[in-house]
Amino acid sequence: MADKGNDPFAVWQTMLGEMEKGFNAFANKAMTSPEFSKTMNQAGGATAGAQKQFFEMMEKYLVGMNMPSRAQMVDMAARLQSIEAQLAEIKALLVQGRASPGAQATGPATPRPPRTKRPPESSGAQK
């Protein structure tokens, strides 16, 4: 077997790693300048503004077409998730009720282990 230093595939891996480190370091250095922040934020601000305008325009268009907007679809998905979560809670309560018919609704769904565990000898003493 070739040793690692002479293995072209290992050399390729090392080279990739070094390239990554070098490029990241170079880019990070450039990104600490105020000019970078200025340019990045100008571009980001313009994009956010354009997005807002486009979003408002699309909303109007979809209302005109009698179609739901993305926000309405997201809202609907969230409401479905909420219904699913409530169903899960109801299911958990039903399971709990079946397991112990006399138990109160607020008790745990499954039997819980006792809270009596002590740390092993080697562990730090209680403070």
Binding site: F9, N41, K52, Q81, A92, T106, P108, R112, P114
Partner: protein
């Protein structure tokens, strides 16, 4: 040995054969990669105790015959999903805690809905966390609760602990938690107050989109995504590598949006005015003085953390008022500190040995 190249001649046919095999496997596995989904993540059995908009409180089903008296509430960072702490069996921090005999709850987040853009820091620190603590107390029947905060979840836990310093938090564990935000130099420069119009952004978009959060994380290491894809192709014959790549890649790109008002406060109070480090932070009129935290505290930081560098995190232990306090610096990065093969060997046993004696 060939004197000119230093390459062992006898090994060349072997190496060529191995690479040909790998090339064939790459073609087969490459097709597999695009036609299959990754491993199921976050599958440790749990029950949803409470869901309120962006906030979800889970209780994990115990895996030990007896548990420590004091339950644990994990507060996840608001930018990411909690399954980083529950990847797959054998590589799950949650599963580890359960098997060691802890009773574990997690405050996890979902994407805030458009109408939740008005959620403020007050909602997170004075409502969500205290509410979850109360639910944990009710559910476990215990008055004491240990809190573990990951990254910005650590900041939220510290703000909570500094306001509710008389209890019921019994122990606090922070992972990679920033205190001096100016030392997060790139983030600090990205949000330079001279050029970053946070009001304009929040007013325009409501909740800050996840793509923006993700690109700001990726900009910290701009070459890494491209290189990682080359490395994936190199290693696509290796099932373990591919599994690990898919787990971490899915989590890293599964970024959450941030509620607009909450983001505005983070930017102005923490990134611009560095109030937590300066001791002038307040939430809802309550002063957040780290010196008022007196519970036992452990802060685990990563040696090669590119998101929260050590210089940003190192002030936590000196600033808290606890007599019982410890900082532990471990090898690894921001994510590998808490998840993956290295965490299994380094952080988890350390945390267990620290917490066990303080959980009775």
């Amino acid at each position: 040995m060939n004197a000119a190249t230093g390459l062992a001649l006898a090994s060349i046919p072997e190496r060529i054969q191995q690479e040909v095999q790998r090339a064939i496997l790459r073609s087969i596995k490459g097709v597999e990669y695009f036609t299959t989904s990754g491993p199921s993540l976050g599958v440790t059995p749990k029950d949803l105790l409470s869901a309120r908009g962006t906030m979800n409180l889970y209780h994990y089903r115990p895996l030990a015959d007896e548990v420590y008296r004091v339950p644990i509430l994990i507060v996840m960072a608001t930018t990411n999903r909690g399954y980083i702490l529950d990847m797959v069996p054998g590589q799950s921090f949650i599963e580890f805690l359960l098997r060691q005999g802890y009773d574990v709850y997690m405050l996890d987040w979902t994407a805030p809905r458009p109408e939740e853009k008005s959620l403020r820091m007050e909602d997170y620190v004075l409502d969500f966390i205290p509410y979850c603590i109360r639910r944990v107390q009710e559910d476990s029947g215990e008055s004491d609760v240990s809190v573990i905060g990951y990254c910005f979840g650590g900041v939220l836990s510290l703000l909570y602990g500094s306001i509710f310093h008389d209890g019921p938090m019994k122990n606090l564990i922070c992972f990679t938690t920033p205190i001096d935000f100016r030392k997060m130099e790139l983030f600090s420069n990205f949000s330079d107050r001279r050029y970053f119009d946070v009001d304009g952004l929040v007013d325009a978009v409501g909740n800050v989109p996840p793509e923006m959060i993700l690109s700001s994380f990726e900009m910290l290491r701009p070459a890494s995504r491209a290189i990682s894809q080359v490395q994936l192709w190199d290693n696509i014959w290796n099932d373990e590598y591919v599994k690990s790549y898919r787990m971490f890649d899915r989590w890293a790109t599964d970024t959450l949006p941030l509620a607009g008002e909450y983001f505005r406060t983070i930017t102005k109070d923490l990134m611009w005015d560095n109030k937590l480090f300066g001791g002038t932070m307040s939430v809802g009129g309550h002063a957040c003085d780290l010196a008022s935290i007196r519970v036992p505290i452990l802060h685990a930081v990563a040696e090669h953390d590119h998101i929260v560098p050590y210089d940003a995190a190192k002030h936590l232990i000196p600033m808290v008022g606890s007599a019982d306090k410890e900082e532990v610096i471990l090898k690894g990065g921001h994510v590998s500190l808490v998840a993956g093969a290295n965490a299994v060997r380094r952080l988890w046993p350390k945390l267990d040995s620290w917490l066990a004696g303080r959980s009775t």
